[in-house]
């Protein structure tokens, strides 16, 4: 017995003194060549040069609205590619000369609306857009942004009216994209798919436009169960060759629903920086019982905690999904999904609320989704299946 104790102690001490655990303390690196951080682009990248040129333009003339708007729009687009919200904060800083004016110029207001919409300040964003439209009733961009915010808020009739204002203001594909997106969630998927297919056939679409239309088409097809068509549309979007975080997320969700976990991992294994993509990666790893699942889940716990610490809650949808699907805690997930549903009402928001209510065995919590589905004749076979299970379940 005594020997056993001695052996245990010796081994223990040895391991301790050899201690390989990472120190959580700040440290002073010993190697000058140690790489601490990777930036999203190199100084020699065309994008970096373009941003630098725009920045120095603006520095020379800080009140030049035109340069400011160009730079801010470029930052927002970069944020879209990289999924890095720092770019939105930078866009806001660029517009700071106009941001707090009582009546900023329409071009600045439009970007402010986009930035506010990103922070899920939908009503403030709509107020900005109405202000733009009061001054410029033919501003196509304002109508389009307005339509998409109204759609997120499930105010479909108003959204449709906003889309219709685009006729005669802009190219027909923008009008069709706007209406097609809306039709896809309000019981007219067949019509929507037909319309969007035609739009995609147009060779003159820009890269971003093609990604936009192809992603709507792919998601609409996936919701109606047209798996093959969804797949074709996703690959059409990827073919453009511009990195797009929304597209990556939407495609990963599609693959997860198809139980194609290995494909999710191939798609996202280098995309661990963006929380939403890391979440989808961890979901696939969980399904395949890969060891990296554990560390990625721990990483997500830390990131959501860091996010809460800063006092913002734009991640409610992802946090609800994370809490339910990775932490398996329906009781915690449900209130998050409910908070999220009060802010945004897209099919993904409906799904996480219904799933959480189902897992928590809470019938009243799921009711708003059932009402929403019925009122808008939502065609989403995953959601419908879930709704049927939910209604048949005995809680």
């Amino acid at each position: 017995m005594i020997q056993l104790i001695i052996v245990t102690c010796v081994i223990g001490w040895y391991l301790l003194t050899q201690g390989g655990s990472a120190s959580p303390e700040p440290y002073r690196p010993t190697d000058d060549a140690q790489v601490l951080e990777r930036l999203s682009f190199k100084a020699s990248d065309p994008l970096a040069r373009e941003l630098n040129a725009l920045r120095s333009d603006l520095q020379k003339n800080p009140r030049n609205l035109k340069s400011a708007v160009r730079l801010a729009a470029r930052y927002i687009e970069q944020g879209r590619s990289e999924g890095d919200p720092r770019f939105l904060g930078q866009a806001q800083a660029v517009l700071s000369s106009w941001w707090n004016e009582p009546t900023p110029p329409p071009a600045a207001l439009l970007l402010r609306a986009t930035i506010r919409q990103n922070a899920h300040e939908f009503n403030e964003a709509l107020a900005d857009l109405d202000q733009v439209l009061a001054a410029q009733p033919t501003n196509a961009q304002a109508w389009l942004t307005k339509a998409s915010i109204l759609q997120v808020q499930a105010r479909y009739d108003e959204a449709r009216r906003a889309c219709q204002r685009l006729a005669r203001l802009t190219a027909s594909h923008v009008l069709f994209g706007c209406l097609g997106d809306l039709a896809g969630v309000t019981g007219q998927s067949a019509k929507s798919r037909e319309l969007l297919q035609q739009v995609l056939a147009d060779e003159n679409l820009t890269g971003r436009e093609r990604i936009w239309i192809a992603t709507i088409l792919a998601e609409t097809a996936a919701r109606t169960g047209a798996i093959r068509e969804a797949e074709v549309s996703f690959s059409e979007a990827f073919k453009v060759g511009i990195k797009d975080q929304y597209l990556l997320g939407a495609c990963a969700d599609f693959l997860l629903d198809q139980h194609r976990y290995q494909d999710v991992i191939s798609l996202l294994q280098s995309e661990t920086r963006a929380d939403g993509l890391l979440l989808r990666l961890a979901l696939a790893e969980q399904a395949l019982a890969l060891p990296s699942f554990k560390s990625h889940t721990a990483e997500l716990v830390a990131r959501f905690a860091a996010s809460r610490e800063r006092g913002t809650s734009v991640h409610a949808r992802e946090e609800a999904r994370f809490t339910l699907a990775l932490l398996h805690d329906a009781k915690q997930a449900l209130p998050l999904a409910q908070v999220n549903w009060n802010v945004q009402r897209e099919p993904a928001d409906a799904r996480i609320l219904l799933e959480s209510a189902f897992a928590a065995g809470n019938r009243t919590a799921g009711q708003p989704v059932l009402d929403w589905m019925k009122a808008n004749r939502v065609e989403d076979f995953q959601l419908r299946q879930l709704a049927t299970q939910f209604q048949e379940a005995r809680f």
Binding site: I76, A274, R310
Partner: protein, 373 residues
């Protein structure tokens, strides 16, 4: 969440589930007439502000960061103004380290801010990065004595006031006594170690059997010996560690504490191993002292009254310990004649302690999580 803009090109806003926006982490410890600070700022943010990627390869190395130390410090200090009442404090960066937060590598600036006079009201004017990134936030942790408060600086609220309540020595001392008591009650490892050593105190060993002790004074003497040895030992190392004379890695300390419980439990099952319990109490008490010191460091020792808080904390630990002994001893003395005492309480209790200690030891020494906490 999807939106688009069309003017010249089609712009879509980014999905809300991107990674974290820019934050810095500022810790300020207010100490009478000066402030000790630590400021963690993302290297990516410094790169936007002062340009760190000297070779333009899109990677930031320690060498590049080190070369720009002066620019980094100057930039940071120009964006943070601390003032006590109306006096602006003079701030000096002591060292620059590196740390990793959830969204990447951070430069850690440790600084000292001299406010030339007692601080009654601290005004923090935070202007980091707002001109570059309007959504940047500064997350503040302000400590004074044992008390911590938090605040968030943003573009809208860059300046904030904090009243530094002048804590009397008495309230400070009470606070540390309180922490000491709670620590020994909530830190089950210390309690279990002590109880494991005390379990056989009401018995005597004769002819390889446990017999109830006959007299209360001898039992008391036994207990006093053990408790005193434990107290002397842990007070000694607690002081040495708190005064920064000796430092041990916490993993080593925590796992040795678990090992000490195992040994104490085993000693009860194999009594011939341990005739002098007070020596065990003393030996391992030394290690437990380091464990207490870790708590004390976490609380943040006010250097102005270092000794007072150290003594107060220790007094708290002793009070907590005495309460446990006072609750245990009469009870054990009363039931020592029962057949169940040596079998159920001593053997069963020791086995339980050993099991718990084994789990803790494995978790702590091998950095594993055996049971969800």
């Amino acid at each position: 969440m999807r939106t688009l803009l069309v003017i010249a090109c089609l712009l879509l806003s980014l999905p809300a589930w991107a990674h974290k926006p820019s934050d810095s982490y500022l810790s300020l410890a207010v100490q009478n007439d000066h402030v000790e600070g630590q400021w963690d700022i993302a290297l990516r943010d410094f790169n936007d502000a002062v340009g760190l990627d000297s070779d333009g390869n899109g990677q930031l190395t320690w060498g590049e960061v080190r070369d720009k130390h002066r620019e980094i410090s100057t930039y940071a200090l120009s964006r943070l103004i601390l003032s006590a009442d109306a006096r602006v404090c003079t701030t000096q960066v002591l060292e620059e380290l590196i740390d990793h937060h959830t969204d990447g590598a951070y430069s850690v600036l440790r600084f000292h801010s001299d406010c030339s006079g007692p601080i009654e009201r601290l005004v923090v004017d935070y202007q980091l990065l707002f001109d570059i990134d309007a959504q940047h936030k500064g997350l503040l942790r302000l400590t004074q004595g044992g008390h911590t408060s938090t605040a968030i600086f943003s573009h809208e609220t860059p300046t904030q006031n904090f009243s530094i309540a002048e804590q009397s020595r008495w309230t400070e001392s009470i606070q540390f006594i309180h922490e000491g008591i709670w620590h020994i009650w909530l830190g089950f490892d210390h309690v279990l170690f002590l109880l494991a050593l005390l379990l056989p105190a009401v018995l005597v060993r004769a002819e390889s059997r446990w017999l109830p002790a006959s007299e209360f004074p001898s039992v008391c003497w036994n207990v006093v010996n053990i408790v005193t040895a434990f107290t002397v030992a842990h007070s000694l190392t607690l002081s040495l560690a708190a005064l920064d004379v000796i430092r041990l890695p916490s993993r080593l300390v925590e796992s040795t504490i678990a090992a000490s419980m195992m040994l104490a439990g085993l000693g009860n099952l194999y009594p011939m191993m341990m005739t002098r319990r007070w020596m065990i109490a003393f030996g391992f008490g030394l290690i437990h002292g380091f464990g207490f010191a870790a708590v004390l460091t976490d609380l943040g020792l006010p250097p102005g009254s270092l000794l007072l808080s150290l003594v107060s904390f220790n007094v708290g630990v002793e009070i907590g310990q005495l309460v446990i002994v006072a609750a245990f001893l009469p009870l054990a003395y009363l039931i020592r004649h029962s057949w169940s005492y040596p079998k159920l309480v001593l053997t069963g209790g020791s086995l339980a302690v050993i099991t718990i200690a084994l789990v803790w030891f494995t978790e702590r020494a091998f950095d594993l999580q055996l049971f969800p906490s």
